[in-house]
Structures are given as structure tokens and as C-alpha cells.
């Protein structure tokens, strides 16, 4: 069962589509209502970052199964400007867009695993996993 689904993010409405897809997949996999909300919120933050900072990109969501351990992985990909100071964007309250600065550190807390790779002028790939308890 590794059917990956992706949503192209180009405008604000795509953010809603991405989180609806995430909620449906989380529900199907058997996540409880709190983890469904965590996954949906994490997708919303990642999709908004793509829209705000890269202009366009995509969110891919896939069920994963590692030695019988099931979970859901979210991958956010863009070919935007990249992140110059990754340490800074992982600080609570740091923002360059007038937001709350809760996005990336928030996603890290909402999910179980989190990794970020970014190259200036090339793009950013963020991967976040939630395991089924």
C-alpha cells in the first residue's frame, strides 16, 4: 500500500485541497481525531509556506509501512528561493511574512519525524511523518 497522492499548490484554495486530501487519508489509515487534526494542520502550514514563499510547489502524502509499523508521510516540495537560515526558521515566533512564526517549529511538534533540506535558489523539501499509535 504505497499509493502516493499529490496536490499542486499554486493558490490559497489549493491549501484547502491539500489538507482535505490529508484528512481523508489520515481517516482511512485509522488515525484518531486528534492526530487527524495534527496532520491536517501540519499540511496546511506546509502548503501555506509553499504558496507564500515559493509561489508554487506540491504537497505529496503517502501511507507508509515500515516492518509493520504504519504511518503517514507528508512531503512538501518547491523550486522556490530556498531557506538561507534554516536554524532561524525553526525558532518559534520568527517570521518574514507578518504571520505568527508558528509554522515550521509547529509542524515539527505536530508530527513525529521532521526533516528539512533546502538549497538557496534551488528549492526546499520538507518531509514529516506521523506514526499510527
Amino acid at each position: 500500500m504505497d499509493i502516493q497522492s499529490c496536490v499542486e499548490v499554486r493558490n490559497e484554495w489549493d491549501i484547502v485541497s491539500a489538507r482535505q486530501l490529508g484528512r481523508n487519508m489520515a481517516k482511512e489509515l485509522g488515525f484518531g481525531s486528534v492526530d487527524q487534526a495534527r496532520i491536517t494542520t501540519a499540511i496546511s502550514e506546509l502548503a501555506r509556506n509553499i504558496y507564500l514563499y515559493a509561489g508554487r510547489g506540491k504537497i505529496c502524502i503517502e501511507p507508509i509501512d515500515q516492518l509493520g509499523r504504519k504511518g503517514l508521510r507528508i512531503v512538501a516540495l518547491d523550486n522556490g528561493p530556498g531557506i538561507r537560515e534554516i536554524r532561524k526558521v525553526m525558532e518559534d515566533g520568527y517570521t518574514t511574512s507578518g504571520g505568527l512564526g508558528a509554522g515550521l517549529p509547529g509542524v515539527k511538534r505536530l508530527m513525529d519525524e521532521f526533516s528539512i533540506e533546502s538549497t538557496v535558489d534551488v528549492g526546499t523539501e520538507i518531509s514529516a511523518t506521523k506514526w499510527l499509535r
Binding site: 490559497e12 486528534v34 495534527r38 491536517t40 494542520t41 496546511s44 502550514e45 501555506r48 505568527l100 508558528a102
Partner: protein, 118 residues
């Protein structure tokens, strides 16, 4: 999409029942401030019972509209925040400390009445 705002005596009641995109949230902010201006409402209850996700953007819009309404002289109470939403907001690091809240619509109205009359 527009979120309906109901007037009940000197209060405004809003129950958010749609999946909020960014535009709908910002439109609601503007609609509510205009409605406060037009009706002279002293209190507002925004019921979030049907909302199953609040991300940092929607949290900012809600927090802002509470502060904006206060500037105009109206008190706002948020009601019905679901357990899963409360948990994710705190995970995100958003405590909405300065925002008045209540368990449900009924307690929200009681709270407004106390704040406005007491």
C-alpha cells in the same frame, strides 16, 4: 464564500460551519467589523463547534478580529473549540491567551452578559 452574521438584541452571533480558506477568513474579518459598526453591537460570540482545524493563519485572523472588535468597543468570545483543535493550537505554540473563550454558545452568551453588565 461569506460567513453569515446574525444579530440577537445587542449581540452578534456567528457559527462557522464551512472549511475556511484564507479569503473566506479575511472576508469574515471585514464583514464582522462592518456589522459591529452598523448595528452598534456590544458583544460578539464566534462559535467554532464545527471547526475541525485551526492553523496559524486562521488563528492569527481570529486573534486579530478579536483585538480589532475591542478597538471598536465590542467584546468577543470564542466558543466551542474542539479538543483536537485545542491540542493542535498548543502544539503549534499558539495559546490565544488574551482571547476570551467559553465551552459553548450558551456559556459564551452568559460570559458576555457578565462582562458587559457586571
Amino acid at each position: 464564500m461569506r460567513i453569515p452574521i446574525l444579530k440577537l438584541h445587542e449581540y452578534l452571533l456567528i457559527t462557522i460551519q464551512v472549511e475556511m480558506d484564507d479569503q473566506t477568513a479575511l472576508q469574515f474579518q471585514e464583514d464582522l467589523l462592518n456589522k459591529i459598526h452598523d448595528t452598534g453591537a456590544k458583544g460578539v460570540v464566534i462559535d467554532l463547534t464545527s471547526v475541525d482545524m485551526i492553523d496559524s493563519f486562521i488563528a492569527k485572523v481570529l486573534g486579530d478580529v478579536v483585538r480589532m472588535s475591542k478597538l471598536m468597543g465590542a467584546q468577543v468570545v470564542l466558543t466551542g473549540i474542539q479538543p483536537a483543535v485545542a491540542i493542535t493550537l498548543i502544539d503549534l505554540g499558539i495559546s490565544m491567551r488574551e482571547v476570551s473563550t467559553a465551552l459553548d454558545l450558551e456559556q459564551g452568551l452568559d460570559k458576555l452578559r457578565l462582562e458587559l453588565e457586571g
